[in-house]
Amino acid sequence: MSLTTNLPGLSLKNPVMPASGCFGFGKEYSQFYDLSKLGAIIVKAATGEARYGNPTPRVAETASGMLNAIGLQNPGVKSIVDEELPFLRSFDTPVIANVAGSTVEEYVKVTKELNRSEDIAAIELNISCPNVKEGGVQFGTDPELAKEVTAQVKEASDYPVYVKLSPNVSNIVEMAKTVAEAGADGLSMINTLTGMQINLKQRKPIIANKTGGLSGPAIKPIAIRMIYEVRQAVDISIIGMGGIMTADDVLEFLLAGANAVAVGTANFQNPMACPEIIDALPAVLEKYGFSSVEEAIGKGHIG
C-alpha cells in the first residue's frame, strides 16, 4: 500500500502532518514518538518579532471541539530559524513554516527571514488567524488583501507557498481562486471558525480575548464542504484539515480533494494521534478499495 503523495516542494512518505500551532516546534511530541514517522511537520506561526499573544484563559472546550485564542505567541522568526528549526533536522521529514503578520511588510519580512533557513521545505501563509486584533483574519476575508499578500509573499519566497484559508467567509471558492491566481502553489484549509463560549458564573466570555477559533470534529463537515467546493474550482494542491481524529477522517478529506492532511486538535487529546492515524491508514484504504493514497485523492466527486 503506497502512502506517498506529492505536492509542490513536498514529496511525502505519507499524507499526515501535524497542523500549525498544535505541535509547537516538535520538541515536546518527539518525546512520545519518532517524528520521522510523520509525512511532514507544520510548525507554529512565526511573526516578525517575538509576540506575547493574548491574555489567558486562551482555550475552552466545546461540544466535539475547542476554542483557542493564543494570539500568535511565538519567539519571532529569527529565533525560530536559529533556535527552533535546527532541532527538526535530525528527523527524516519535511518541515513547513507558518508565516503570520499584521501587515504585508511583516509577512514579507518573515518570508525573507525564512529563506535563510535550510530546515524547511515550504511555507504556509497564514492569512486566517482569527485571534489577533490587527491583520490576521482580515487578510483571509478580504479578497483584495489576500491577493496582495499572496503575491508579495510568493515573490519574496524561495520556497513553495501554501496559503491557509479562513472558513469565516461568504465565498470560499472566490478566496481560493483569488490566491491561486496570485501565485499560491497550494492551499491549506481550513483554519478555525470564530466562536465564543460564555461562562455562566462569571457572566463573560471564557476566553480572555472574548472570541476564539473553533477547531476539532465539530467543524469537519464545514472543512469537507469547503475542500470539495474548492477542488472543483482550482487545481492547485490542497492540504486539508479540520477535525481529523481517525484514518477514516483522512480518507474523507482525500475523497473531498485534499492531497495531504493536517491534524491539529487531536494531538492534544492524544499525543500519539498522528502516528496512530498513519498506522491505521493502509487498512482503511484497503477496506474502501483503494491501493494507494494518490488513488483516493478527489474520488468523492462522482454522481
Binding site: K27, F32, K44, G53, T56, R58, S64, M66, I70, N270
Partner: protein, 253 residues
C-alpha cells in the same frame, strides 16, 4: 520520560463533599515528584483534565490524585470505579525543587483543590526531616479532607470561609495570627489566595503552584502561559515550565 499510558484504577473513594481520591497503578509512579501533575483523557471530551499528584506509594507502584467535581469532566471522572482504566499522560510539569533547597522549617499553605499536591510535598519534606506547619483553607466543613494526615506530619490549622470549622476566614488570617517560623513557604490554591499569600509573605522565599486552562498539557500550544515579573512581555508555560514557580517569579492575574 513523559508518556501516555492506560492506567487501572486501584481504588476510587469519596473523601469529602464532591471530592474523590483515586489511586492509579503505573510503572512510572516512582518518577512522580511533588508538584507534578498528570493529564487525564475523558471519552467524548476534546481536552484532557490536569490533576496534581497527591501521593506516591513506591511499594505498590501506585500514585494518588484527589479531585473535586467542578464541571462536566470531573463529574464524569467521579463516576469511574476501581478496575476501570484511565488514559493518562505523565509525568507532567515541574516539581518543588526541594533537593536543591536548604529547608529546615517549611510552611505549607493550601486552598481547596490546591491542597492535594501539598500533601505529597509535606510528606516528602517530613521524610527528609523538615519541620512542617500546614495552613489549609476550605469553603465549608464538609469539604475538608486529609486533615488528620496533615496533622500526623506537623502542626495543622484549618480555615473555612463560612466558619463551619476551624478559623473563620482565609489562610492569610491564620498566617497572621499564628505567625509560624519557616525558611520556605509552599503554596497552592486559587489564584486570589496565591496572590494574597505571596504578598503577605513577600519577604520570604517560597514556591507556588499555578492553574490555568490547558490545551496540550505538554508545552506545544501556548495555552497556559503566565507573564514573568522581570519582563511582562515574556512568559512561561504552566504545563511545562510550571506548575511550580518561585513565588516572586510570575505575575498573578
Amino acid at each position: 520520560m513523559i508518556t501516555k499510558q492506560l492506567l487501572e484504577i486501584q481504588s476510587h473513594l469519596q473523601i469529602a463533599a464532591d471530592t474523590f481520591e483515586v489511586v492509579l497503578k503505573s510503572p512510572l509512579a516512582e518518577e512522580l515528584r511533588p508538584g507534578q501533575f498528570v493529564h487525564i483523557a475523558l471519552k467524548h471530551h476534546m481536552l484532557r483534565r490536569p490533576v496534581s499528584v497527591a501521593g506516591v506509594d513506591l511499594e505498590a507502584g501506585t500514585f494518588t490524585v484527589i479531585f473535586k467535581i467542578f464541571g462536566e469532566g470531573t463529574r464524569v471522572l467521579s463516576t469511574y470505579q476501581a478496575g476501570d482504566q484511565l488514559d493518562v499522560i505523565l509525568p507532567c510539569g515541574t516539581y518543588y525543587p526541594i533537593d536543591q533547597l536548604d529547608v529546615k522549617q517549611a510552611l505549607i499553605v493550601g486552598g481547596g483543590i490546591g491542597v492535594p499536591p501539598l500533601y505529597y510535598l509535606a510528606k516528602t519534606l517530613k521524610e527528609k526531616g523538615v519541620e512542617i506547619t500546614s495552613i489549609l483553607g476550605f469553603q465549608t466543613k464538609d469539604q475538608i479532607f486529609y486533615e488528620e494526615k496533615f496533622q500526623a506530619i506537623g502542626d495543622t490549622y484549618i480555615a473555612t470561609n463560612d466558619g463551619s470549622y476551624g478559623t473563620q476566614g482565609f489562610v492569610t488570617d491564620i498566617i497572621e495570627k499564628v505567625n509560624p517560623s519557616f525558611d520556605y513557604f509552599f503554596s497552592c490554591g486559587p489564584t486570589p489566595m496565591l496572590k494574597a499569600v505571596s504578598n503577605q509573605l513577600a519577604a520570604h522565599n517560597g514556591y507556588i503552584s499555578l492553574e490555568e486552562r490547558m490545551g496540550c498539557g505538554v508545552g506545544t500550544c501556548y495555552a497556559c502561559v503566565v507573564p514573568l515579573k522581570e519582563d511582562p512581555q515574556k512568559s512561561k508555560k504552566i504545563c511545562k515550565d510550571g506548575p511550580v514557580f518561585k513565588a516572586n517569579e510570575v505575575i498573578l492575574g
